[in-house]
């Protein structure tokens, strides 16, 4: 009984075309990479700053535009179409923060926005910090040997 139910749900759930999705992610992710490189080159030549500062400016620009487009409401449609092409770049991090802030806005400033803004993107920060701590300890131990 259970097995036949699984068969039926499998038959009627929409088929994800793995190859097509991967191709779309490849193209959109690649375009994001090109935009990043263009912004780095542009900032370092316009403002005459070293590449490292231009990188920070590029990240802040991308974060600003993904927050802005999320609050206009059409970034969700782009994410639905491009999938990982927009989730894996830094835009996905900003999109998660912004959509959580918009969603819980009506519950108040502190209990809504403040407590829930990092709900989705907090995982990235926490696991990033913990894993980088472990890995730099590892590097330290290897360096001592």
């Amino acid at each position: 009984m259970k097995k036949s139910y699984q068969d039926i749900t499998e038959k009627h759930s929409p088929k994800e075309n793995i190859f097509m999705n991967a191709f779309i992610s490849f193209i959109t992710g690649g375009i994001m990479g090109i935009i990043g490189q263009l912004l780095i080159d542009g900032y370092s030549s316009w403002f005459d700053i070293p590449t490292k500062e231009a990188t920070v400016c590029m990240l802040v620009t991308l974060i600003f535009f993904s927050c802005l487009f999320t609050s206009f409401g059409f970034f969700d449609k782009w994410v639905n179409f491009c999938k990982c092409g927009l989730i894996i770049p830094i835009t996905g991090f900003a999109h998660a923060t912004m959509s959580a802030a918009l969603e819980f806005r009506k519950e108040g400033l502190v209990t809504g926005i403040g407590m829930n803004m990092l709900k989705l993107s907090g995982a990235v920060i926490i696991f990033g910090v913990v894993s980088s701590f472990v890995f730099s300890l590892l590097r330290m131990v290897v360096g001592l040997i």
């Binding site: 992710g29 990479g33 090109i34 935009i35 490189q37 802005l68 900003a94 890995f135």
Partner: protein
């Protein structure tokens, strides 16, 4: 030439993430966490620095560079300040990204209504 490398590297990272997302039951949250941890791991022996030299912005845009910057800051802090630097240096390089995301989303969420 660096534009082609950037396109290829960022594209391949996103395509791998999409294949993992389609073939397993993991959510996008799991995928981003996996990529941050991979980026942090690749920085132990400065492999990611070589990738950045090769691919430029293509390696800096994906979330893997977030993990790379965290480990890079921690190791740099340890080299300059000792053990205390492991704690104070971790968020050094990524602070701009995190603060920008928080500040922009706070003020924009005050201005805009959620659209459904």
């Amino acid at each position: 030439m660096i534009y082609l490398n950037a396109f290829l590297f960022a594209g391949i990272v996103c395509a791998i993430a999409q294949i993992i997302l389609d073939c397993t039951k993991l959510t996008p949250g799991h995928i981003t966490v996996i990529f941050v941890v991979v980026g942090a791991f690749l920085d132990i022996f400065n492999i990611y620095d070589q990738i950045i030299l090769w691919a430029g912005g293509g390696a800096l845009v994906p979330i893997t560079s977030f993990g790379h910057n965290l480990t890079h800051g921690a190791i740099h802090g340890y080299n300059t300040e000792g053990v205390l630097g492991l704690f104070s240096g971790t968020l050094d390089l990524t602070a701009a990204g995190i603060s920008a995301a928080i500040i922009f989303s706070f003020f924009l969420s005050l201005i805009f209504e959620p659209k459904d």
